[in-house]
Amino acid sequence: MNMQSSSFIARFYKYLFALGFIALVTAVLFALRESLDTALVALLYLIPLGLITAYWGLGPGITSALATFLTFNYFFIKPYYTFAVHRPTDVVILVIFLIVAIVISQLVGRMQSSLAAATAREREATQLYELSTGLAGLNDDRAIAQILAKQVQEVSQGEAVEVNIHGPHFLAFQLPEATQPARTPEWIVPLQVARGVLGEILLWRAAPAITSSEKRLLQTFASQGALALERARLAQAESRARVLEESDHLKSILLSSVSHELRTPLSTIKAAASSLRSNDVHWDSAARPELIAAIDDEADHLNMLVGNLLDMSRIESGVLKPKREWNILPEIIGSVLTRMKHLAGEHRVELDAPEGLPLVPVDFVQMEQVFTNLLSNSVKYAPEKTVIRVRAFVEGDAIHVQVSNQGPQVPPEHLERIFDKFYRITAADRVTGTGLGLSICKGIVEAHGGRLWAENVPDGFAFNFTLPLIWEGVSLPNLPMDTETE
C-alpha cells in the first residue's frame, strides 16, 4: 500500500509541475503580450508543451495542452479575459494550436514510452546476462541456487526469495537468510527441463503486485536456472563416469598384479604336491620333507595374501571400522610375538614400553595386523642377528609407537611412497610379500585416528605411528582394584 500511494503522489506532482510550468510561461508571455503576435504566442507555447511531454510523459502533456489552450484563449485572444473568440483567424489559430499541441504531446509521449520500454528491455537483458554469466560454469547445486536467489531478489525487490532444488539431496536456499514470511508465496515458478521439474523459485512480494512483465522475466530466470542445474547434473554424471572408469582401470591393474602374486605360491604348491604324488621322490629322500614344508609355507603365504587383499578392499571401501576396546599395547605386541616366533628367525625383537603405559582404545585384531606387518617388513629387510626394537611411549594425548630395525635406509624420496599399494623400491622385492602390508597398516592406523610414517634413523630405519588415547572424547574409565591376597 505504501508504495502505491507514493507512486500516486509522484504522478500527482508531475501534473502539478506541468501546470506550474505552463503558468510560468503564461506569465512571461503575458508580460510581453503587446509586442507579440497571436500566432507567435501559439508557436512559443508549443515549446513548454514539448518539454513537459518529454519529461513527465503523455498524461501531463495532454493536460498541459488543454490548459494552454484555455490560457491562450483567455489571455491572448481578443477579447481578453473571456473564452469568447471574435475573429475567425483566431478561431483557426486556436484550432490549429490545439491539434498541434495534442499531436506533439502524443508523438513525444509515444517516443518517450518506447524509450522507457527499450530501457526496460535493456535492463532485462543486462539482468539475464548477469544471471547467465553467474551461472556459467557452476556445477554445484548450492551455488546455482544461491546465484538464482540473489538475482531474483535483486530484480523483484521482494520480501523474500527461496530456491528449492529437488534431487537426491533436497536443498533450499533463502534470501534474506532464514527470514521467510509465514504465508504462502505470491509467485512460484518451477525449474523445468525436458526431463521434469528440478526445483522451484518461491517469491514473496505482496505489493506492488507482480506484473506480467516481471513474471515473464522470472520465467526466463527460472528456465536459465533449470538449464544450469541440468548442466550441473550432466557434468556430475560425467565425472562419476570418469571416476568409475579410472577405478575400473585400477582394478584391472590390481587384478593382474594379484593373479601374479597368487600364482607364484600356487605354482610351488602344485609342483611340490605333484612330484610327491608321482612317486618320483623316494619315500626316504631328503627332498620329501622339504617339498612338504614348501607346500605348507606357500599355503600360509597364500592365506596371508588373500587376507591382505580382503583387508585392502575393506580399507578402500571404507568399511574397516575398528571395533575399539581399551587394550594394553604390550599385550597386543606380545600376542604377535608369540605367533611370529618362527617368523622372527634370526632377529631379536626387543620391547621397550614403560610399566605404566596407559590402556589405549584400539581394535585388538587390527592392531595385531599392524604390528605383524611392520615386524615382518623389518624381518625381511634387516640383516640377520640384528635387533628390531619396538618402543611405545606417551606423547601428549596419544601413544607413540616406533618399530625400528638396523636394516638398510630408504632413500628419502621413497619414504612416503612405500605405503602405496604394490610399491616396491627394488625389483628384488617382488620375491616375497604382497606389496599390500604397509598400505594396510596405514589404513588401519588412520582408521584409528592416528598417523603412520617412516623415517631413517642413525643406525637403520624406523616406522612410527601414533594412536589417540581419547576415544569419542572419553579417556580411560576407572578400574576396580583389589589387593588382598587369597
Binding site: K323, W326, E331, F364, V365, P477, L479, E486
Partner: protein, 232 residues
Amino acid sequence: MSNAPHILVIDDEPQIQRAIRTILTEKGFKVTTASRGEEGLTLAATNEPEIVILDLGLPDMDGVEVCTRLREWTQCPIIILSVRDSERDKVAALDKGADDYLTKPFGIEELLARVRVALRHSAGRQGVTQSKVVKAGQLSIDLAWHSVKRGDEEVKLTATEYKLLAYLAGNHGRVLTHQSILTNVWDPADADHTEYLRVYMRQLRKKLEVDPERPQFILTEPGIGYRFIADE
C-alpha cells in the same frame, strides 16, 4: 571300531568335508558329514555324536542358529570352523554354546588338538572325574585347595586374580570369550568391561609367566578371548 568317538562334520564345502573325513578317519574316529544345517541337526539327533564340527557359513541357515538349536538338547562339544575376520560371528557362536573354534585354513595339528580338548570336556560332562590339579610347565594349580605353585614356591594372588586363573585353568585348552570370563569372574553386569580383563590378565601373567610379553600358558585369542594351555 564301534566305540570309536563319533564326529559329525557340518560343512557345505565338499573339499573341506573330504579333507576332514580322510584325516579324522585315519586317526580312528567315526565321521559323518552333512552339508546343510537342517541335515546336520537331524543327523546330530539320530547319531548323537561325541563332537560336532560346524562351519559357520552354511547355505541354508546361520551357523549360530545351528549352535543354539543343538544346545537346546545336547551338551556335546561344538567346534566352529570359520574364516578370518569374522570374530563377531565366532564370539556369537561361542557365547551361544559352542566350545571352540578353528580359523580356516587350519593345520591338522590344530584340528586334532581341538578335538582332544573337546573329548576331554565331553568326558568331564559325563561325570568322568577330572584331575583337580592343573599342571602347566612349572605351574601347578590346585583347584580344590585354591593354591597356585610355581615349582615349590607358592604364588600369591589376589582374590580376583585367583578367580580368573581358576576359571581359565578349569577350562584349560578351551577358548573362553571375554564375555564369558567377565560374566563368570566378575558379574554379568560387567560383561562389557574388557579393560578389567586386560588389566588383571597383565597382572596375572606377570606373576605366572616366565616372559609376560611372550606368554606360554595364558594365550590371547585375538578379538575373541583367552585360552589356558595346560600340559596334556
